[in-house]
C-alpha cells in the first residue's frame, strides 16, 4: 500500500486502499438498494467513470456469484450543453451493446461536480432506449452543483474550492488547489 | 485666346538626345525648347521624363454597346491619366466597327471628350463573324489604318489570305488576335500543371502559335503588313524573331500584364486574372521580356478591357476575360524593370505611333514645331492601386494592392493639359 504523492501542492484525499474499499461498498449498496441484480445495468461515463464501472461490475459478480451484470460505456461529449462554447475533444467511443429498455441503469462517474455531465448522460441514454430507472454512483462528490442532480451512491464527499482540480484513479484521489492560477 | 504652357525642368527624351530643358507650348504645338522659358501656365517637371505622349494600339472603349463597362469619354480619361494621347479603339463594339457610320461615331465621341485622339480600328470580317471581308477600302477611305477582328482570330486560312492580299493594295495594316478557336473551347486559363490541379479546361500555347505561324507564312506569300496583337508565349516570340530576320513586314505587341503576371494567380479563383490570351508561365514572361529588349516585340499595348463589377463576380468559367490597363501600364512596365527609359518610350510611344500610322502627330521627337502631344512622368514614384480611384468606369484591375513604379504627372493633348499633377482636368 504505497502512498504516492502527486506533483507540487496536491493533497491526497483518498488512498488507493480507500478507493478500493469505497468501490466494494458501493457495489454492495447497489445490490442492496435494488434488492438483487435483476434488470441491472452499469454504464460508465467516458472517460473517468469506465474503469470504476468495470470494477463495480466485477465486485457485483463476486458478491452475487454466477451473475454477470452488463457493463457499457457512454461518451457524452455530443450531448453536452456547452457545445460551441469551448473546444470539445471527443473521448473514446460509446459502447452499449445491450438493450437498456426497462433496465435499471446505474450511471458511474469518478467525480460529480456541477452535474452537467450527468444531465448529458441521462439524455444520451435516451438514444439507446427507455430505462425503468436511472441511478447515479460516483467515487467523489466535490459539491458546487449547478443543476438539480444528486448521487445515489457516493464513495466520499469532498468539499473543494471551484479552482481546485480533482483527479481520481486506482492510485488515489488527489486535490490540486488552483493549479495554474485559474480563477 | 489659349494659354501658353511651360513644362519646366524635365528630362526631354528624343531618339537621339536626352537633356534637361524647358518645353514651351503655344496653341497646339511645341513652340520652343530651351532654358528658363516663361509661359501662362507652369508645369513642374523636375525629376520627370518628358516625351511624346503614349499611343495605345489596343484599347477596348466599349462604346457603342457596353457603356456600362466604359465609355469613350471615361476610357479617354483613363488613357490621359496613363500618359496616352492616342488610343486605337478595338472594333468589337456593338454594333461592330465594320461600317463608316460606326467609325465616324467613335471618332466623334472621341473628339467630343477631347482627351485623347481616339483612332478607331476596323474589322477584317463583316460583323467579326470570320465569314466574309468587311468593306476595308471604304473604311480605309474614312481614315482607318489598322484592321482586326480582335476578340477573335480569323479562323479561315483562305479568308485570311484574301484579306492580306486585299490589304496590301490599300496600304493598311491587319492585326491578328491569334487563337485557334477549336483548341480553346471553354478554356479559362493557360494549359499547364495549375489547370490540371484545378480541373479547368486549358488554353494551350499552340492555339496561339499555330496562328502566328500560319499568318507569318501568309505574309511571306502576300507581302502584306501584319501586326500581332498581345503575344503571350515563348514560341510566338521565337517565330516572330525568325520572321523579322527574314525581313518580313511584321510587328508585334505585348501587354503589361503578360510581362508581369503568371498563371499561378488563377489559383486564387479570382476572375480578375482571367484574360485572353491567358496569363502564362514564368518562362513565357522571361521570353517576352527578352523579345522586348532585342526588338522582336515593337510595342507595349494595354488591351484595356473593362468589365462591370458584376461580370467579374461570376464563377471563373462564366466571367468574361479581360483586365484594365490604361492607368497602370507605365507603372507596371517600370516596376518590372530591366528596360531603359528610352526603350520604354520607344515601346509605348514612338513604335506604336508608327504602326498605327499616326506618326505625323504622335510619337514625334519633342522639338519646336511638332504637335504638342506629350507625356510628363516621374519614373521613380511608387504608388499602389486603389481600383475605386481609377478613372475607368470599371474596377477590374489585377494590380490591386501591388506597388507600381512610375506615374504620369502631366499629359498634354494638342497643346492642352489634360492631366496636371496626376489629376484629370476634364
Amino acid at each position: 500500500m504505497n502512498k504516492s504523492v502527486s506533483s507540487g501542492s496536491s493533497r491526497e484525499a483518498m488512498t488507493s486502499a480507500d478507493v478500493r474499499r469505497a468501490i466494494v461498498r458501493i457495489a454492495h449498496e447497489i445490490v442492496e438498494r435494488n434488492h438483487g441484480v435483476d434488470g441491472l445495468a452499469i454504464v460508465g461515463l467516458q472517460r473517468g467513470g469506465t474503469w470504476i464501472a468495470e470494477e463495480i461490475s466485477a465486485q457485483i459478480n463476486h458478491i452475487e456469484k454466477e451473475v454477470k451484470v452488463p457493463v457499457g460505456a457512454l461518451d457524452v461529449s455530443l450531448h453536452r450543453d456547452d457545445i460551441g462554447m469551448r473546444p470539445v475533444s471527443l473521448g473514446a467511443i460509446s459502447n452499449i451493446p445491450f438493450d437498456l429498455s426497462g433496465a435499471t441503469v446505474v450511471l458511474v462517474d469518478d467525480v460529480l461536480y456541477t452535474g452537467r455531465t450527468v444531465r448529458a448522460a441521462m439524455e444520451g441514454l435516451n438514444n439507446y432506449g427507455r430505462p425503468r430507472a436511472v441511478q447515479l454512483a460516483v467515487l467523489v462528490d466535490r459539491g458546487h452543483r449547478e443543476l438539480p442532480i444528486r448521487p445515489d451512491f457516493v464513495g466520499k464527499n469532498l468539499p473543494t474550492h471551484r479552482a481546485d482540480e480533482v483527479s481520481a484513479t486506482r492510485d488515489g484521489v488527489y486535490v490540486t488547489p488552483n493549479p495554474e492560477g485559474k480563477s | 485666346m489659349s494659354k501658353s504652357i511651360v513644362i519646366k525642368g524635365g528630362t526631354v527624351i528624343n531618339r537621339n538626345s536626352q537633356e534637361i530643358v524647358d518645353v514651351k507650348i503655344e496653341h497646339d504645338c511645341v513652340a520652343e525648347i530651351g532654358k528658363n522659358l516663361k509661359g501662362d501656365i507652369q508645369l513642374d517637371a523636375s525629376g520627370c521624363i518628358v516625351s511624346s505622349g503614349f499611343v495605345d494600339l489596343h484599347a477596348h472603349l466599349r462604346e457603342p454597346g457596353k457603356e456600362e463597362a466604359e465609355t469613350i469619354e471615361t476610357g479617354s480619361r483613363a488613357g490621359a491619366l496613363g500618359g496616352y494621347t492616342a488610343l486605337v479603339a478595338m472594333p468589337n463594339t456593338d454594333p461592330p466597327q465594320d461600317s463608316v457610320a460606326v467609325i465616324d461615331f467613335v471618332r466623334e465621341q472621341g473628339k467630343r471628350a477631347g482627351l485623347v485622339d481616339v483612332v478607331p480600328s476596323g474589322c477584317i470580317t463583316l460583323g467579326r463573324h470570320g465569314e466574309s471581308l468587311a468593306p476595308m477600302a471604304e473604311l480605309a477611305n474614312a481614315g482607318v489604318t489598322l484592321f482586326t477582328d480582335d476578340g477573335n482570330g480569323v479562323q479561315d486560312a483562305a479568308l485570311m489570305r484574301r484579306a492580306l492580299e486585299y490589304a496590301k493594295g490599300l496600304g493598311i495594316t491587319l492585326a491578328q488576335h491569334c487563337e485557334v478557336a477549336e483548341l480553346t473551347k471553354g478554356a479559362v486559363m493557360n494549359e499547364c500543371s495549375c489547370c490540371t490541379d484545378l480541373g479547368l479546361p486549358g488554353w494551350p500555347a499552340i492555339a496561339e502559335e499555330l496562328m502566328v505561324f500560319r499568318d507569318i507564312e501568309l505574309v511571306r506569300i502576300t507581302g502584306a503588313a501584319m501586326h500581332f496583337l498581345h503575344l503571350s508565349t515563348m514560341r510566338s516570340v521565337d517565330l516572330v524573331r525568325a520572321a523579322k530576320l527574314d525581313g518580313l513586314p511584321i510587328t508585334a505587341e505585348v501587354t503589361p500584364h503578360h510581362l508581369s503576371l503568371t498563371q499561378e494567380l488563377l489559383a486564387s479563383y479570382n476572375p480578375v486574372f482571367k484574360v485572353n490570351p491567358p496569363l502564362r508561365s514564368i518562362e513565357d514572361v522571361r521570353a517576352l521580356k527578352a523579345g522586348l529588349l532585342d526588338g522582336t516585340i515593337d510595342a507595349i499595348a494595354t488591351d484595356h478591357a473593362p468589365h462591370p463589377r458584376r461580370d467579374k463576380e461570376m464563377s471563373l468559367d462564366m466571367a468574361p476575360p479581360g483586365m484594365l490597363g490604361l492607368e497602370t501600364a507605365l507603372g507596371v512596365v517600370l516596376a518590372e524593370g530591366g528596360c531603359e527609359i528610352r526603350n520604354v518610350v520607344a515601346m509605348m510611344s514612338w513604335n506604336p505611333a508608327k504602326i498605327a500610322r499616326i506618326d505625323a502627330e504622335h510619337g514625334r521627337d519633342v522639338v519646336a514645331g511638332v504637335k504638342a502631344n506629350l507625356c510628363v512622368f516621374d519614373p521613380e514614384l511608387t504608388w499602389s492601386v486603389d481600383p475605386e480611384r481609377l478613372a475607368s468606369k470599371s474596377i477590374n484591375t489585377p494590380y490591386v494592392g501591388r506597388t507600381l513604379r512610375g506615374r504620369v504627372r502631366h499629359t498634354i493633348f494638342r497643346g492642352t493639359a489634360t492631366v496636371i499633377d496626376g489629376q484629370a482636368q476634364k
Binding site: I83, S94 | G199, M314, S315, M318
Partner: protein, 311 residues
C-alpha cells in the same frame, strides 16, 4: 477549421482527425435513436446548383442527426446559375442566420468565391471538376473500415477512368497519397489531364497490366458525352479497355476492394453488377456517407475548433 473546401486545404492532420471523428458518428448511427443535440440551434443551408439528390439528402440527414436545422435552396438553372446574383443569394441567406453552406456547383472555385460574401462555414459538395472532399473522406473511411488500417502506406490503389473531368479523382488522389498509399491512374491519354508530371502518381494505359496487383480498384463513371467530345472513339471501346468485366473481377487479388463513387453507368465502366462482385464496398461507401458528413458538420460548427478562428 472554418471550411471544408478541398483536401489539400484540409491537410493530413485535418483528414485523420475527421476520420477518427467519423467513428463516433458511426456509433451514433447504430443507436436505436440516432440523434444527438450537438448542433442544436445551428442552421445548415444546402445550395445545390447541380442536381444531386443523394449527396444533398446525405448532408441533410447528417445535419438533422446532429439536431441542426436545415434549409434547402433549389436553385434553378436560370439567372442564379449564371452567377449573376450568386453574391446576393449568398448574402441574403446568411442574413437569415445560416451557420454553414453546403455548396455544389458546376463551376470551379465557387466555394472560395462564396467565402468572400459570407461569414458562414463553407462545405464543398463538388465544384466543377476540381474537388469533392467529402467523397474522398467517405472513400478513405470505407477503406479504413475494411482494412482497419490507420494509414495507407504499402497500399496500392488504382483509379480508373475519366480522371480529367473528375473532382472525385482529384480529391481522392490527394487524400490517398496523404495517407501514404501508392496511387496509379489508369486511363486513355485523352482522359488524363494535360500535365500530371507533378502529381505523386503512376500512370498506366492498360488496366489488365495492373489489375492483379492492386489492393483497391476505384472505378470512375464515364459520362456518355465524352464520346461526343472525342475523348474516346466509342463507349464500347472504352468499356472493353477500361471497364470492370467478369474476367477482370476474377483477376483481382482475393482481398482486393472494388469501389465506385456512384452513380454508375451500367454497361460502360461497370459491365458487371456490383452486387455480384464479392469485394465490392460500394454499398459501404453509400452507408458511410451520413457518418462522414456528420463528422464534417460537427468539426466545423460544434467542435469549438473554429473559435476565435480564422479560416
Amino acid at each position: 477549421m472554418k471550411h471544408l473546401r478541398s483536401i489539400d486545404e484540409l491537410g493530413l492532420d485535418g483528414l485523420t482527425g475527421l476520420l477518427q471523428l467519423t467513428d463516433h458518428m458511426a456509433e451514433i448511427n447504430q443507436r436505436p435513436v440516432p440523434k444527438v443535440p450537438a448542433l442544436r440551434g445551428r442552421t445548415v443551408a444546402s445550395l445545390f446548383f447541380e442536381d444531386s439528390t443523394r449527396t444533398r439528402l446525405s448532408f441533410e440527414t447528417a445535419a438533422k442527426r446532429l439536431s441542426a436545422d436545415t434549409m434547402t435552396f433549389n436553385v434553378s438553372t436560370s439567372s442564379v446559375n449564371k452567377g449573376e446574383s450568386l453574391r446576393d443569394t449568398v448574402a441574403t441567406i446568411t442574413d437569415m442566420g445560416v451557420d454553414a453552406f453546403v455548396v455544389r456547383h458546376k463551376s470551379v472555385g465557387i466555394p472560395w468565391q462564396i467565402s468572400q460574401w459570407t461569414t458562414a462555414s463553407i462545405i464543398n459538395a463538388g465544384d466543377g471538376a476540381h474537388q469533392h472532399p467529402t467523397q474522398a473522406l467517405v472513400d478513405c473511411y470505407t477503406i479504413r473500415e475494411a482494412t482497419h488500417a490507420q494509414n495507407f502506406s504499402g497500399m496500392k490503389i488504382a483509379i480508373v477512368g475519366d480522371i480529367k473531368h473528375s473532382r472525385v479523382a482529384r480529391s481522392n488522389i490527394q487524400a490517398f497519397t496523404l495517407l501514404g498509399a501508392s496511387v496509379v491512374l489508369v486511363a486513355p491519354p485523352t482522359l488524363l489531364p494535360p500535365d500530371v508530371s507533378h502529381w505523386p502518381v503512376g500512370i498506366s494505359h492498360k488496366l489488365d497490366e495492373i489489375i492483379d496487383k492492386v489492393d483497391v480498384l476505384y472505378m470512375l463513371r464515364l459520362q456518355s458525352e465524352r464520346m461526343a467530345q472525342g475523348h474516346v472513339p466509342t463507349l464500347r471501346e472504352y468499356s472493353e479497355q477500361y471497364g470492370l468485366t467478369q474476367k477482370r473481377v476474377m483477376a483481382l487479388k482475393s482481398d482486393a476492394i472494388v469501389m465506385h463513387p456512384g452513380p454508375m453507368n451500367r454497361g460502360v465502366e461497370m459491365q458487371i453488377d456490383p452486387s455480384d462482385v464479392k469485394n465490392s464496398l460500394i454499398h459501404r461507401q453509400v452507408a458511410n456517407g451520413v457518418s462522414v458528413r456528420m463528422a464534417v458538420l460537427f468539426e466545423l460548427l460544434g467542435s469549438g475548433s473554429s473559435l476565435g478562428g480564422q479560416a
